[in-house]
Symmetry: C3
Subunit: 154 residues, 3 copies
């Protein structure tokens, strides 16, 4: 937060401290399949730790239109397998689409899972459930992708 105080002296230490509390980091992710879910929770945890935030939120944002981010089970990899399979059935690659690139199904999946997720931070920790992790969702790979993480707090 950039509280630009016009006053001098002790006030300036407030500015500097609040500034440190909010930051955005950018991560690069290389996907290897046409559709794939990659666990990025450890990346987000590192960002929260580096930002030194004890209470606030972390916004994970995917700046792509054929990829997204979702929170789902971290224990059994068959859940991810089933999710991708279910999305393939509901949003098939082939269809009477106009978009010539042939990836309209991927655009639909991106809007359905969403391009961001928000996780609460308390006591310096992401407040995820026991079985929850954060997944980058590739729907039109393989590609080199970006993920932004913005930690907001104080």
């Amino acid at each position: 937060m950039s509280v630009r105080l016009q006053a001098a002296g002790k006030f300036l230490c407030i500015e500097a401290f609040i500034e440190r509390m909010e930051r955005m980091t950018e991560h690069t992710i290389k996907t290897t399949s046409s559709d794939e879910m990659i666990n990025i929770t450890s990346l987000v945890r590192q960002d929260v730790k580096k930002a030194g935030i004890t209470s606030g939120t972390a916004v994970v944002f995917v700046p792509h239109t054929t990829a997204g981010v979702t929170i789902n089970e971290n224990a059994d990899p068959d859940v991810v397998y089933d999710l991708l399979s279910i999305f393939r059935r509901v949003y098939p690659e082939s269809g009477s689409y106009r978009h010539m690139e042939g990836n309209s199904h991927a655009h639909a999946k991106a809007s359905v899972v969403g391009s961001s997720c928000t996780v609460i931070i308390e006591n310096g920790q992401l407040q995820l459930g026991t079985w929850q992790d954060i997944y980058f969702c590739e729907f039109d790979g393989p590609r080199t992708r970006k993920v932004y993480v913005k930690t907001i707090g104080g």
Copy 2:
């Protein structure tokens, strides 16, 4: 917001006040059906009031992978009935799933409606539309569930 000022005296009142502005509460919800939508708006409204926030946001987060949260119509209960019915058709319980627990359909619904929603707070009030309320979505019940509400503001 924990602005830990190193300065003493009057500065400390700022710290205390800002601290009060952000808080997370945890609610327990007992569901009674395999799938069900439970109106939790009054819980969120109470949290906003207790936090004393006049302007900010409320993040409602569900720490489960077979449940979610969504905002939809509060007037006619038939809308909730139809929504659950529509999701059952699009994401049927039976399918060629790998996950042995038999609840892959519920994991898919959770990712589709999402694990969180963000509502704006202005003048101390949630800025929901006339027909909008916030619903906890059970997709694999009955279970005892948690909902986190984080109010952020000032």
Copy 3:
């Protein structure tokens, strides 16, 4: 952020400045079709600029239960055409619905794309990807609709 300091003098300039950092604006959108996606990115960009925020988030919230908001491709209008077509196939207008208004399909679409999206602000700019724009999604028009934009930062 309304940090109401009880102390006098120089402290009050902090209050005023932080207050300016957070604001909500309300926009009116007239839709012309039963389903339609309207690019509202320029509205959100204006709000961010007016708020004078350099680092933070913008929350775009739709206070309706048969409309939503999503982020998707801005280059080829065929993507929007295909998305609306795909949603019509997955959530058809006709079905064995209970809700007498005949728009249960629109309520389902609203919950699937979601009633809000959060975009990161850095260096005073929305951190959208090259091909991303923010779309108001009408699913039961034509109607006069509202969109709220809340900029949070500092």
